[in-house]
Amino acid sequence: METTFRLSGGGGGDGGDYGDDDELELGLGLSLTSAAYAPSSNGALSQVVGWPPVKTYRMNSLVNQAKFSKNEEEKGVGGNDGSKKKKKNSNKNDEKMVKETGHSGFVKVNMDGLPIGRKVDLNAHDCYETLAQALEIMFLKASSSIRREKQQHSRLLDGSSEFVLTYEDKEGDWMLVGDVPWRMFLGTVKRLRIMKTSDANGLAPRYQEKNQKPKSKQLELRR
């Protein structure tokens, strides 16, 4: 997308809040804030917090709808043009479906404090680092991420953030992300959750004690 607007163009000298350095770094002449909208391979809208302005309740509802359309199709309901059209829609949605088998592909990501869940394509990553960075861009302030471009490690993985990245495995246990080899992780992950570090204290990295399982589930509910 071409962008030609500049910060406080003719508006006056005090438009220097964002210095030239920042403009160069971003390369597009966008303000730091509008760089929250950063075009990516699939067309980009998913990067911006709260845009397009659709109420979170409605967004959640739509996520559930898409899931259902898939089931509809499998049941083979309807047989005329109208429902065929709908099947077409759900075919497209299929690609973005929540995969429940634990194979690599799209998994749902939730973050404590946000009612909207998002989806991330695990296939697009080959290591924990890029996944965590992508999630940081998606869920945490994009401007912060841009500053962290230069950093080696995602804060979600090294414990320095107030959030940690966790996942639910095939057995239904919640584990900290990062300890098993990537391929093994892909084979077992069902969904992800960005949890508050304080809530994640009950999770052990390599194993999940069975008697701790109900506690972490309760933590989820009490959010």
């Binding site: 607007f5 006056g12 659709v54 409605r58 709808q65 005329n80 109208g82 497209k92 949605n93 945490l140």
Partner: protein
């Protein structure tokens, strides 16, 4: 108080009391209260309903002191952009501090309508236990409570007439909250639990519907099947508003004819919603009531043009229509040709992050051609042209609410590649009654100049990813005298723009600016000049020092917030 002989025009108190008791409009009451002290007092003693559109503009103590006889309260909290996750958790707007004061001041409170407030289960329980005649609870876009709070409400509110839950962030813990409604409660008139995900006890629901003979509004959730819906409708043929459950499961215990017949007995039905998972197979069951419908909400139904046509050809009286963009431009053509009386249209995106074509300028044009009475539009689209919007304005000069959302930020006219300035220029020039405007697409300061010059009745203004300089915001702040609520995000407006609105802010409800070029210095300047405003900066973790990433400014008689979390700083 005897009429003072030196003031021959003073009216007897009794006369004033009775006259004021008849005045329902808040606006009229507000005006009347300014006439003289007698009228002020007559007004305040006789007022039964108060609407507080910003919970921080006044304190509950001040409200209770001025209006001793309140029975019904409407209270709104968070800035509207909290709907889109722009306001951090725990920002505030907790209803409890209001309830605590009301428990003492208004023990006979009957109605509470909350929008964007933080409501805990404890607060719901507190409400249920402390207001013995409580009748009507409406929660819209609130969060912080669970089904446990609902249990408390239905258990203790013996005179419940209304329970209306819309689009809330409810922690749905399941459970059987509906079963807690006492067997002898027969007063319910409105029940809306469409937004809850979990199953409710159908037996309890059926019994409730059966014994509440005054039930007029029933909106069930997705867990209610068609069979169950049929049974409910048969018990309540006098419904005026119905929200269906899911159409997904096939009818088992009855036939399509029986369901259709149940609908046909609902002669008073004028509003329909729900329709989750509906297909052509079952749509015909609503045909008998289509002719009377004035409001049809299909915004959770992924329908195509053909299904939509099926319904709309029978909905000649339709005034308000909400749909998903799955109906496409063809579906909107149907709207234009079938619904000549249409006044309001909302088209929501089915998959906001997918850039597949939903609806375009063509659909918009079709609707405007067929519906000259259109005055409220909310339209989400991937692309638009200036020419199309100009034609729409010509076709529908009565717009009061024009909310156009071109979903790619900063998107130009896709045919000419020009900014969308002329589109919004056309709207404000042609529609003198415009009160609400949401703009989108690539916009230069020119668009704002048009708005400032022409939109003299504008009250609510929302803008994102637009404008070229401070001038943009200045045009609007200086040109539109009736502004009440302004929300701006991701625009290049700085301190000068912020300060240009100085003359307006005390007559406005609020201003929100986020991700713009405003600094804390600029905000401080504003705060110093205008002591009766709260100038709040929401601190952002990753933000630069000195820049004010999120600013919320509003008039208040209550002073700075006493409950502000650490990340909200009042300057």
């Amino acid at each position: 108080m005897d009429p003072d002989l030196t003031k021959p025009w003073a009216l007897p108190e009794e006369f004033l009391k009775r006259t004021f008791a008849l005045i329902n409009s808040d606006k009229d009451r507000n005006s009347a209260s300014l006439v003289c002290k007698d009228w002020y007092n007559a007004e305040r003693f006789s007022r039964r309903h108060v609407s507080i559109r910003n919970c921080y503009s006044v304190s509950p103590e001040i409200v209770a002191a001025r209006f001793p006889g309140i029975r019904s309260v409407t209270l709104k909290g968070k800035p509207r952009f909290s709907d889109f996750n722009l306001v951090p958790e725990d920002w505030g707007a907790d209803v409890q501090s209001w309830l605590s004061v009301f428990a003492a001041a208004y023990p006979f409170l009957e109605e509470l309508r909350l929008k964007r407030m933080a409501v805990s289960d404890e607060s719901l329980e507190y409400l249920a236990m402390n207001f013995h005649g409580f009748k009507a609870l409406s929660l819209l876009s609130c969060d912080g409570f669970s089904t446990i709070g609902l249990e408390a409400i239905v258990t203790h509110c013996k005179n419940l007439t209304e329970l209306d839950l819309q689009e809330n962030g409810i922690d749905d813990l399941g459970g059987d909250w509906l079963s807690y409604v006492p067997e002898n409660l027969t007063s319910l008139e409105v029940l809306n639990f469409a937004a809850l995900d979990s199953e409710v006890s159908f037996d309890a629901l059926e019994s409730l519907v059966s014994r509440c003979k005054s039930l007029r509004v029933l909106k069930v959730n997705r867990k209610i099947s068609l069979d169950q819906l049929r049974r409910l409708i048969e018990l309540a043929p006098k419904l005026t508003e119905l929200g269906t459950g899911s159409f997904a499961e096939d009818l088992v215990s009855s036939s399509v004819t029986e369901l259709e017949s149940a609908f046909s007995k609902c002669r008073d039905l004028h509003t329909l919603s729900g329709f989750w998972d509906v297909t052509l197979l079952y749509l015909p069951v609503i045909f008998p009531v289509c002719g009377n419908l004035t409001f049809l909400n299909l915004s959770y139904a992924t329908l195509g043009a053909i299904e939509l046509e099926c319904i709309l050809t029978r909905c000649k009286s339709l005034r308000r229509l909400w749909v998903l963009d799955t109906v496409g431009d063809e579906g909107l053509e149907m709207v234009g040709s079938c619904c000549p009386l249409l006044e309001e249209l909302r088209v929501f995106p089915a998959d906001p992050f997918n850039q597949e074509l939903g609806v375009t300028e063509s659909g918009f044009l079709s609707v405007s051609n067929g519906c000259p009475n259109l005055h409220y539009v909310l339209y989400f689209c991937q692309r638009m042209t200036n020419a199309a919007v100009a034609t729409v304005a010509q076709n529908c000069p009565n717009f009061t609410h024009f909310r156009l959302c071109i979903m790619s930020p900063g998107e130009p006219d896709y045919l000419t590649n020009e900014p969308m300035d002329e589109a919004f220029g056309a709207i404000v020039k042609t529609c003198p009654n415009l009160r609400r405007l949401s703009v989108s697409g690539r916009l230069t300061d020119l668009a704002f100049e048009y708005i400032g010059n022409h939109a003299k009745n504008l009250e609510t203004f929302s803008v994102a990813f637009a404008g070229t300089s401070d001038l943009g915001m200045e045009y609007v702040m200086r040109g539109c005298p009736k502004l009440r609520r302004v929300e701006i995000r991701d625009c290049p407006f700085g301190d000068n723009a912020l300060l240009s609105g100085l003359a307006q802010y005390e007559s406005m409800r609020s201003l929100w600016m986020s991700a713009c070029n405003v600094t804390t210095d600029g905000c401080k300047k504003l705060a110093d000049e205008m002591p009766r405003l709260n100038v709040e900066v929401i601190k952002d973790d990753g933000g630069e020092d000195g820049s004010a990433d999120k600013v919320y400014i509003y008039r208040t008689v209550a002073g700075p917030r006493t409950d502000a979390p650490p990340f909200v700083v009042t300057l």
